[in-house]
């Protein structure tokens, strides 16, 4: 049984490729640099439409994407197609890219917005400004896709260690919470509330708990 959430997989054979979507040029430059410095290949586009075109998911047929995409990171607020709409398109039943993890970025930490995105299948939600530590976490999503089969082992771990109760969610969300749970236990043992809560539907989760798990960047101190 693993006690660490993330099993490190050697992906040096091939660099991960991230598709970054943001209408702000400043933010595109920053996210591009953050990813490159973290040894990722990056394609940065300025809209959801272009992202879909790149993935070959838009209505016009003919374009076949040459490079595989390991992760999509998108801003939430964009003119035209929002990041949320892009997320939905990618996660559609018919989409050949629905397995790709999608991360949403936003300068607003609005809980209903976060919930909505996670419910729609977003891997994580990052409150801007994006930092290196956020990108490090993203790399975890891209590598651990290969160890989805080990989720069960790690579920047991968390129950053993602490106060995780009730609904554990499914698949990818669960994986992330487990990673966070391990982190929380190692670095902040004083947290008494459950660090790992199903964000989408659990009726017994209270808002402070939500903040501890993947959305650790909610920066409670800053919210008015």
């Amino acid at each position: 049984m693993e006690t660490n959430g993330v099993v490190s997989i050697d992906v040096d054979a091939e660099e991960v490729h991230v598709l970054a979507v943001d209408d702000s040029l400043v933010d595109r430059k920053v996210i591009e640099r953050l990813l490159k410095i973290s040894a990722c290949k990056v394609t940065a586009v300025d809209s959801g439409i272009r992202a879909l075109q790149f993935l070959g998911l838009d209505e016009s047929d003919g374009f076949v994407p040459g490079l595989k995409v390991d992760l999509v990171i998108t801003d939430y607020c964009m003119p035209g197609m929002t990041g949320y709409e892009l997320l939905k398109k990618i996660k559609q039943e018919s989409s050949s890219f629905r397995e790709i993890p999608v991360v949403i970025m936003s300068s607003e930490n609005i809980l209903p917005r976060i919930d909505r995105c996670l419910e729609e299948g977003a891997e994580d939600f990052i409150v801007k400004p994006v930092k290196l530590s956020d990108v490090k976490r993203l790399k975890g999503y891209m590598t651990t896709r290969d160890v989805r089969g080990e989720t069960e082992n790690r579920e047991i771990n968390v129950n053993f260690n602490g106060n995780v109760e009730g609904n554990n969610g499914v698949g990818i969300n669960n994986k992330r919470k487990l990673e966070e749970a391990s982190d929380e236990f190692s670095s902040e043992p004083s947290i008494s509330s459950s660090p790992s809560v199903s964000l989408s539907s659990s009726p017994m989760s209270s808002s402070p708990d939500v903040l501890d798990s993947p959305i650790r960047r909610l920066k409670m101190a800053d919210t008015e």
Binding site: L25, V30, S107
Partner: protein, 154 residues
């Protein structure tokens, strides 16, 4: 001799940075940007900041023309500009500018035209200050690079 001037300038740069942090003009996101600068991308910070200046000036112009309209009522449009401004300002660590934008947005959400005008004045003033200070910072950095001889690990 070559390194001596560079050291003094480096101290100047740090003093200015410390001052700007102390004043709350910049926050740790600016430091994050500096961490992203290295020999493979030696001008990263000034490149991003220059893009920020360019975009901000467009936003400020738009905000001012909106508020100066006689029959101004499009608060939603103003909020869109403000959201962009908030986003980019926080991305470079411009803490005070970000705060003022947030207050500006609150006034806009209340359809408070007077409040918006006041906020715009503060914003223009603060942005000007930020721009001057960052230019100063980049100038010192340039001088330092010259004094030290541009030396990057091969």
């Amino acid at each position: 001799m070559l390194g001596f001037g560079a050291d003094l300038l480096w101290a100047d740069m740090n003093r200015l940075l410390a001052f700007l942090f102390h004043q709350g003009v910049l926050d740790e996101q600016f430091l994050q940007l500096q961490q992203l600068q290295d020999h493979t991308s030696p001008n990263f910070v000034s490149e991003v900041v220059n893009i920020y200046f360019h975009e901000s000036e467009k936003l400020l112009t738009n905000l001012r023309s909106l508020l100066m309209e006689r029959e101004f009522s499009d608060y939603k449009k103003m909020e869109i500009h403000l959201n962009q401004f908030i986003g980019s300002s926080s991305s470079i660590g411009a803490k005070r500018v970000t705060s003022i934008c947030i207050a500006f947005r609150a006034a806009s959400e209340q359809d408070n035209r007077t409040g918006c005008l006041r906020a715009l004045e503060m914003l223009e003033h603060e942005y000007c200050y930020l721009k001057n200070k960052l230019h100063e910072l980049f100038q010192i950095e340039q001088q330092r690079a010259l004094a030290a001889g541009v030396r990057y690990p091969v």
